[in-house]
């Protein structure tokens, strides 16, 4: 019977001599090679008696396991020290700037359109659109604003022909007409888009954006209008409480008509929406005039409802503290990057409208 203890201590002594990867290999061959110590011992198993064989094999196997483990560990220390050596030479200055990249931005007007759409989507509005070029009928007459009516003076119009029939829409309200003509009530739509007026100064630009809203059904009254706009203003400005004032006004296509003011104050040079004792006009609205409904073949005795129009650029200015309207359209990369939004920052109800 072999003296496994002795063999083991001999092997361990050999292993101690391992200095590098090549001595590791040669010593490993001495132990596990074709003629290695342990290989030889395994060869003997067949020649042993039945009663000795079991103990022998068991001792040999545990010796093999132990030696293998020790050898593996040895190898690991070599790997480790080689890696460590390599790492020493691989130090770089990570504070150096990386490769160039360009990050794009979404224009505040687009962002606000997405925000507003998300809000109205929650309360059942869908989006409609209309053409930028309109004719006189859709922009004025169908909206109960006949020719030679002084209300037209409020809209300085761009014309495309000298007969003044083709024009750039002065508001998004013609979308009301187009929507109602192509379908049957009820209607519950918003229509964001470009609008144009012949006006240019610090607070007016010849092009701006509006959002039209229209809700027509059998039992819609001014209370619904009020509720809808309260909901909108609160959600849009992301405030708990909001001070709103409905003030009688006049639009030819609504009766009664109202303008909506929102309370604000200036704090540390910044505008704070929803509180304070100053008022700011943000939108116009009213109950759709029966004449408008008649023009689109909707029976005003059966159906009624409200419409509103709000300036999108103005909303963006108020919410994001932008002062100059004209800068919106000047393509100054400094302005666009400063006020623009990350393309992944999609306004949604569940993640919040804005970060």
């Amino acid at each position: 019977m072999e003296n496994f203890n002795k063999i083991e201590s001999e092997i361990l002594n050999k292993i101690k001599d391992i200095k590098d990867r090549s001595s590791y290999e040669s010593i490993k061959t001495e132990i596990f090679g074709k003629k290695g110590v342990i290989t030889e011992l395994f060869k003997k198993i067949g020649s042993l008696d039945q009663d000795q064989r079991k103990d022998y094999a068991s001792n040999l196997n545990s010796l093999k396991t132990k030696v293998t483990e020790i050898l593996d560990k040895k190898l690991e220390t070599f790997d480790q020290s080689e890696i460590n050596k390599k790492l020493k030479n691989e130090k770089i200055d990570v504070t150096l700037p990386g490769r160039n990249y360009f990050s794009g931005k979404i224009h505040p007007v687009s962002q606000v359109i997405d925000e507003v759409t998300s809000i109205f989507s929650e309360i059942g509005f869908s989006v409609e659109e209309g053409p930028d070029v309109e004719n006189e009928y859709y922009n004025f007459s169908a909206l109960n604003t006949p020719d030679n009516h002084p209300a037209r003076d409020m809209h300085d119009t761009f014309y495309l022909d000298h007969s003044k029939d083709l024009l750039l829409r002065t508001h998004t309200s013609p979308v009301q007409i187009r929507t109602m003509l192509k379908s049957k009530p009820p209607f519950k739509i918003i229509a964001p888009g470009r609008t144009y007026r012949h006006d240019s100064d610090q607070t007016h630009s010849p092009m701006f954006h509006q959002l039209e809203g229209l809700h027509i059904d059998k039992n819609i009254n001014m209370g619904h209008l009020k509720g809808c706009l309260y909901y909108f203003v609160k959600k849009f400005f992301e405030v708990e409480k909001v001070k709103i004032r409905f003030r009688p006004s006049h639009f030819p296509f609504t009766e009664p008509s109202a303008e909506v003011d929102i309370g604000y104050k200036i704090e540390d040079g910044k505008i704070k929406i929803g509180e304070g004792d100053k008022w700011l006009e943000i939108l116009g609205c009213g109950m759709v005039h029966p004449n408008v409904l008649k023009n689109v073949k909707v029976n005003p005795k059966q159906y009624q409802g409200y419409a509103f129009g709000v300036g999108i650029d103005r909303l963006a200015m108020l919410k994001y503290g932008i002062n100059d309207l004209r800068a919106f359209f000047e393509s100054d990369i400094r302005w666009l990057e400063f006020y623009g939004f990350d393309p992944l920052d999609v306004p949604t109800n569940y993640r919040g409208l804005s970060r």
Binding site: V109, H250, P343
Partner: protein, 800 residues
């Protein structure tokens, strides 16, 4: 419309103060836009005393005065007036004050070598008299020194925005009536007028019966032996508070009545009228000089007030200088008429005249106010200028166009959302001037003559809601129910593409829908540009036919600010015609400059065509169009570099155009004087993106993976340069569509060792077997096939 509390109180008994009145006005739809002190400049003028007036040492006609301006302050003022003398009380204007007559702002100035601190004023300079000789001499006492010269300038005025439906509130009385109806006070009755009018109006008036006659009623009174003069202080101050200039008692009186009652009047110098007044349609070419000192040449059918010699004025718009009143006028004809809104508006639009009278007539004057206007105007003139009035002559008659309106009280709550009692309805409507009659449950309402805007029941409902207060409208929370998708396919596509392009590093710009025709034409294939009849400026004169023209203008501006590496895009409409709907939605994107500039980590590199192609292609992929369905061809547009641009189309090269990409044509860059030679762009035609009938999840095949090894083999050919890489890839792919998964070009070379007119092209072919592991033999077979087909089809030779 400007008014003050004291003026309102002429018509309204109320205990409210100015701020309370203003608040109430805004609540009922008469929005007070601002409250101002009427003229703080006038507060500058103070009563002073000349202590000593000596001769100016360097000028014979000037005096150097020591002036006491109160609170112990003495100033030195140089004065040219003969009457400046010791002990005189006068009016002093300090540096900073603006002289009313000529709007000159005073400064401390050296006059003949001596500093003058302000000036002593003449009545002429203060706009109070025509007397230019000498300074004002005041009869004051020592204690008055330092007081303001103009009294009551402290009264504040309100500027009220009057919506176009409310002509009645273009007069103070109308505003007072609205206020009274809210219950804050009582509308005063107009005092009855009793004046002896003994003789007949000697000037005959006739309204010619013609088609389109713009005048309905012409009332007039002749007043003889008047003595026109300056208006008294109280009237001048009211006129000034309206932002008008006091002219004379007669003119100021007509203006006062216009603003008091919304009743325009006009006064003629009766001695300058040639025999009679004929109200008639004008004839093309007739002309007259109007009170704004401009000569107007008329078209046919404008409402002309004329006499036997020609045009005197335009009815309801403006009078003429020929018959204008002056201080020397002795006899006047005072006109109070009704002109129809459409004709007034049309004429003033054509001639581009805007006057206070026109503003009122085009909105609708109370047709019943003709006589009242004559009475009040006449009384004021008699009070101030004396004279004897004729009997009124009122020519013409208007049909009462008002209709009785049926109002059902339930309809009110159906619209307003809250209820109101019949008693309240009656009280409010009557206080607004309506006449009412009950008829069962309905109320029959006849609106007053001064409210042309009240035509049907909703108009009455608005009145009631407005006077009750919009705060009474309940707040009904919106229902959170969706019947329809918020966005349709095109709208979703719009929003998705917008963010897809931005995520590739492009910054979104929003630019005008109009642009400079000179730039637009470079990017347009339209035969006729779409011109605006009235552009806001000459460089924004056409509707854009491409997004590129405004983008490149934007790029240029940024480059000029030294932002030379940039990526901009816009999504929006471009226009193909001038009719509604002749527009399409596009994306235009531009990049310019270098991808990397002066960088430690990588070589400097310009943006190039393959950057822009990738951006376009990846965007199309992201919006759902698989690369396998996109054909790249070298078709291009005139605004691209012909050799460095291409088209991405759907299916074949002749399929629907999805996008163009490439370098902007060098001649455009030169023409626009851009400080770069490297601008690239892509345009996506969003309207050409097909709407898939199936959701992505529905159109995807079953997920399968091959368990067999994929194999890659490389090939290199020398081939005629006319063959594009795309053609070679397609050729190879077609050889075994099942097996060949991909063909990737990894080298293209022309130059040394390659015959001119030819190029070397090297590519990897990726083979992915589905049913077995490929043997060497299988691979050889495919390789041979590839080589022979490429050689046969293109005449290429295999490169060793």
């Amino acid at each position: 419309m400007i008014t003050s509390l004291s003026w309102l109180k002429n018509h309204l008994e109320t205990k409210l103060n100015l701020n309370q009145v203003a608040e109430r006005l805004t609540e009922i739809g008469l929005e007070v836009e601002s409250i101002k002190s009427s003229d703080s400049n006038l507060d500058n003028f103070i009563i002073c005393k000349i202590l000593k007036a000596q001769k100016h040492p360097n000028a014979d006609k000037l005096k150097l005065c020591d002036v006491d301006i109160g609170s112990g302050t003495l100033v030195k003022v140089v004065c040219g007036a003969q009457n400046a003398r010791d002990g005189l009380f006068a009016v002093y204007a300090p540096p900073g004050a603006v002289i009313p007559k000529n709007n000159m702002k005073l400064k401390i100035a050296k006059i003949r070598g001596i500093e003058s601190h302000g000036m002593l004023c003449s009545g002429y300079e203060l706009g109070e008299s025509s007397d230019k000789e000498g300074i004002i001499e005041l009869n004051k006492k020592e204690k008055n020194i330092g007081e303001k010269y103009f009294k009551n300038t402290g009264e504040k005025t309100m500027d009220i925005a009057i919506t176009p439906n409310r002509p009645d509130c273009l007069g103070v009385r109308g505003i007072a009536r609205d206020l009274a109806s809210t219950g804050i006070g009582r509308l005063k009755k107009q005092p009855p007028i009793k004046i002896d009018q003994k003789f007949k109006n000697p000037i005959k008036v006739s309204i010619k019966k013609e088609k389109g006659q713009g005048c309905g009623v012409f009332g007039s009174v002749y007043i003889k032996n008047v003595q026109n003069k300056e208006s008294p202080d109280w009237l001048k101050k009211r006129i000034i508070s309206l932002g008008l200039k006091p002219v004379s008692a007669i003119v100021d009186a007509t203006n006062y009545v216009m603003f008091d009652l919304n009743r325009p009047l006009h006064a003629y110098d009766a001695d300058k009228i040639d025999q009679e007044i004929i109200v008639r349609n004008s004839k093309k070419g007739e002309s007259f000089k109007a009170l704004d000192n401009k000569k107007y040449t008329l078209e046919n059918n404008m409402c002309a007030i004329s006499d036997r010699s020609g045009i005197l004025g335009l009815g309801g718009i403006i009078g003429g200088t020929r018959s204008g009143t002056e201080l020397s006028t002795k006899n006047i004809l005072l006109e109070s008429a009704y002109f129809f809104p459409p004709s007034t508006r049309k004429t003033s639009k054509i001639l581009n005249i805007d006057t206070d009278a026109k503003y009122r007539f085009e909105r609708g004057i109370d047709p019943d106010s003709v006589k009242l206007g004559l009475e009040l105007g006449m009384c004021m003139i008699l009070d101030m200028c004396g004279g004897e009035p004729s009997k009124f002559s009122i020519v013409g008659k208007l049909k009462d166009e008002r209709k009785k309106i049926d109002l059902e009280p339930e309809k009110f709550s159906k619209v307003a959302g809250f209820t109101i009692t019949s008693a309240e309805i009656k009280k409010i409507l009557m206080s607004l001037g309506c006449s009412l009659k009950m008829s069962g449950k309905k109320i029959k309402v006849l609106p007053p003559t001064w409210r042309p805007d009240i035509k049907e029941d909703v108009d009455l409902i608005e009145e009631l809601t407005r006077i009750k207060g919009y705060d009474k409208v309940p707040l009904i929370n919106p229902e959170k129910e969706n019947v329809k998708d918020t966005l349709n396919f095109r709208q979703k596509l719009f929003h998705f593409t917008q963010r897809s392009v931005a995520s590739k590093g492009y910054t979104e710009a929003v630019t005008w829908s109009f642009t400079d025709s000179k730039t637009n034409i470079l990017f347009s294939e339209l035969k006729n540009e779409i011109k605006l009849s009235n552009p806001i400026s000459t460089d924004l004169d056409v509707l854009r036919s491409s997004l590129y023209s405004n983008l490149i203008i934007g790029v240029k501006k940024n480059i000029h600010r030294n932002f030379e590496d940039l990526m901009l895009f816009e999504i929006g409409p471009v226009f193909k015609g001038s009719k509604p709907g002749e527009q399409s939605t596009m994306i235009g994107a531009m990049k310019t400059g270098k991808y990397s500039r002066k960088n430690w980590i990588e070589k400097e590199r310009n943006f190039d065509v393959f950057d822009i192609k990738n951006d376009a292609l990846r965007t199309l992929n992201e919006i759902g169009i698989d690369s396998s369905k996109i054909t790249v061809s070298n078709k291009s547009k005139k605004w691209y570099h012909p050799g460095r641009s291409g088209l991405l189309s759907l299916g074949s090269a002749s399929g629907p155009e999805l996008a163009y990409f490439g370098e902007i044509h060098p001649s455009i860059i030169k023409k626009l004087d851009l400080k770069t030679d490297n601008i690239l762009g892509f345009e996506i035609f969003l309207d050409n993106i097909p709407e898939s009938r199936k959701k992505i999840r529905e159109s995807k095949p079953q997920f399968t993976v091959s368990d067999y090894q994929k194999v890659v083999r490389d090939f290199a050919f020398v081939i005629d340069e006319k063959y594009s890489s795309g053609e070679i890839i397609n050729l190879v792919k077609k050889i075994d569509k099942e097996l060949i998964k991909n063909v990737k070009i990894f080298d293209v070379y022309q130059g040394e060792n390659i015959t001119s007119g030819k190029k070397s092209i090297a590519f990897s072919v990726i083979l992915e077997p589905k049913d077995k592991t490929l043997s060497e033999k299988d691979i050889d077979e495919v390789s041979k096939k590839i080589i022979s087909i490429v050689q046969e089809t293109t005449g290429a030779t295999l490169r060793s």
